[in-house]
Symmetry: C2
Subunit: 249 residues, 2 copies
Amino acid sequence: MQIVIIGSGNVAYHMAKAFILNNIYLAQIFGRNEKELKKISEELNIPYSTDRIEDADLYIICVSDNSIENVSKVITNKNCLVAHTSGSLPKDILVGEYRKSSFYPLQTFSKSKSLKYSTIPFFIEAENEEDKRFLFEIANKISKNVMESTYEKRKYIHLTAVFACNFVNHLFSRAKEISDSQEIPFDYFFPLIDETVEKIYEIDPKLAQTGPAVRNDKRILELHEQLLKDESLEIYKTMNHSIQKMYEL
Amino acid sequence: MQIVIIGSGNVAYHMAKAFILNNIYLAQIFGRNEKELKKISEELNIPYSTDRIEDADLYIICVSDNSIENVSKVITNKNCLVAHTSGSLPKDILVGEYRKSSFYPLQTFSKSKSLKYSTIPFFIEAENEEDKRFLFEIANKISKNVMESTYEKRKYIHLTAVFACNFVNHLFSRAKEISDSQEIPFDYFFPLIDETVEKIYEIDPKLAQTGPAVRNDKRILELHEQLLKDESLEIYKTMNHSIQKMYEL
């Protein structure tokens, strides 16, 4: 069974690594960015190419959503299965006469940060039962958490992930900007951040809300607004408004 | 040395527990809400009262910012030290002829969630060296992370905490609202959320940002906006705008 991964970014790197670490042979890693491909190839001992794509049974396209459609056209095989890893695009975004599928890992990937692959939820969609079984078989080697999905559901999974991960990380960035501006070490906040997350394992976040907005503490809300400006002030107002709406304050 | 804690909410409960667990004797827990005081009193074996406040050397006021000023007036002793636990109010919010101080634990407290007290950063302010030493001595019994602060700095610490904790928790609430609406179990997102937080121990959050906004993926941003409404849509737009400003997209 020949498998090729397409891409050289964060997702491509971690998918390649997850495959190799779980004894799933990779025939090639294919992409445009030779420098990045070379690094991955050297670390994981996978052949790479920027111009000659290998014949394969399965291609997994791990490129940004913007590029999936175009990249999918390089696969001219007809008797093969192609998957993309996007959270928000239908499998029909893929352009070709091959069989189409979705292989969506619900995780945030950075090359410089190692990951435990066994807990990543994988969501699978395929055109027929055989392809689905094949993708399940592969994903099950990587993770204990593999499920079938639909495009409709996957869209909402990705949207939820944007709130719970991308936006949370941006709040950390804005928080660090504030603490940096006063020369307050950001690691003071690590126990607080850890606890904020630990809580959601035990308590519905709606019941765990603390802070001046949910107490409707106008004095503090005004004081904080005076300390903020620009985007951080906008975030402050939007989040407080949303908190107060949720609790009907 | 007689110490009294004032209040019966989340902070009062956890401060009382942190004191007791670290062998710091509490003479009384004083407040208005008899039902809550009784529960704390029974769990931690501390005498409580709603009407007769005990003579003490140190009073620690653990009530919401709105109430600190009024509550501080119940202390008529002059030769004593009074601290509040607010992140955003000056110690001079306290009304009385006693010595004033601030004893600020940087953490989020919920009665139903147990906590490791030893990593909580405590920030101390006092009028004189002796009071400062005394408060440090107490805080050092609870935590390995005790620092002096100023009101100016403490305000920004609290503001940073609002972004890194209160707003993050609200994003979890809104995320859960989205996943609940599609009957997607919220625990699918736990590995993602854990990883989002683990990353900040290793990578500056500004360098770890992922998602459609930082990729400027207009197709996905538009798709997501169509799936959202009301406060969640407002949050979506505000956060994306802030992300795109931060990365000059």
